[in-house]
Amino acid sequence: MKLTLRSENADRDLLLISVFTFFTVTLWIFFEVLKTAKTTTVSPTTAQIVTPLSPNVDMNTIQTLEAKKAY
């Protein structure tokens, strides 16, 4: 009887440990996957290369500059 009670307590403790281990591992996996999904794979150099470029030139400014005096 005594042995049974002690073994049941030990079983419950082991169950709790295994459940906590399971949840810890699950959460750990979840956050690692989340981090992987959120982290960009594009290098800063490549990101700089693809920075949008506006091909428009303000012709009014050039015309204004042309109209100004230069010595």
């Binding site: 281990t21 810890t24 996957v33 992987t36 960009t40 594009v42 470029l53 030139v57 500059l65 010595y71």
Partner: protein, 223 residues
């Protein structure tokens, strides 16, 4: 140290193994054991097998999304560059105008020459001119160091001109109208006691000689 005798050791620990058998035959213990080992097995496989697999899956998915986005941005940039090249060819002859307005070096001597020419043209006398600090060349970054973004810097000029009111007016308008980007930071007007012959004849303010102390900022592009 005595050698390990497995027969003797087995006899010694056998009772402990055998005690576990009736315990494991109890339904509650069997259920507990099954659940505990299931959780532990899932955790173990989760950590060593599922985690790396899922990480690889999500990494690849992210990479595909990034590369698709990158491809689109590259195509947009290529089109923009082609368009920019065409625009550049159109305005290539006008580039010196922009360089005149905002040179890449301080070019203080040329700026001084321009002010002198303007003073001569406006018929005013340039009595003094001073430049506290003249960087003869633009401050460049050390070799091997990555160049930073360009910024607009200025050279400060202090000058004094003397002349008739309309000439001074023309001179100031000329400064504003200079192609080189110039900012008048401050102006101080002083009325000179010595009057010109026109002033004695007409006694109008247009005949009065003025002295103007000017503080100018002349801009250039630096890295």
């Amino acid at each position: 140290m005595a050698a390990f005798n497995y027969k003797q050791e087995y006899q010694r620990y056998k009772k402990y193994y055998l005690n576990l058998v009736p315990l494991l035959q109890q339904p509650v213990s069997r259920a507990y054991t099954t659940i505990i080992f299931s959780f532990l097995a899932i955790s173990l496989f989760g950590w060593y097998a599922i985690r790396p697999t899922m990480q690889t899956i999500f990494e690849l998915k992210r990479e595909i999304a990034d590369k698709t986005d990158l491809n689109q941005k590259m195509e947009e940039k290529i089109s923009a560059l082609i368009e920019a090249q065409a625009v550049y060819q159109d305005i290539e002859t006008k580039i010196p105008v922009v360089t005149d307005a905002l040179p890449t070096t301080p070019d203080a001597i040329r700026a001084l020459g321009q002010i002198q020419s303007l003073a001569r043209e406006s018929n005013v006398q340039l009595t003094s001119i001073s430049v506290p600090i003249v960087p003869l060349v633009a401050v460049s970054t050390a070799s091997g160091q990555k160049a930073g973004p360009t910024k607009v810097s200025d050279v400060a000029f202090t000058l004094a001109v003397t002349g008739m009111y309309p000439d001074i007016k023309n001179f100031l308008e000329g400064i504003v109208d200079l192609r080189r980007v110039t900012q008048i930071e401050s102006m101080t007007f002083l009325l000179q006691r010595e009057l010109s012959p026109e002033a004695t004849q007409s006694a109008t303010p247009t005949g009065t000689k003025l002295q103007v102390d000017l503080k100018l900022n002349i801009y250039y592009l630096s890295t």
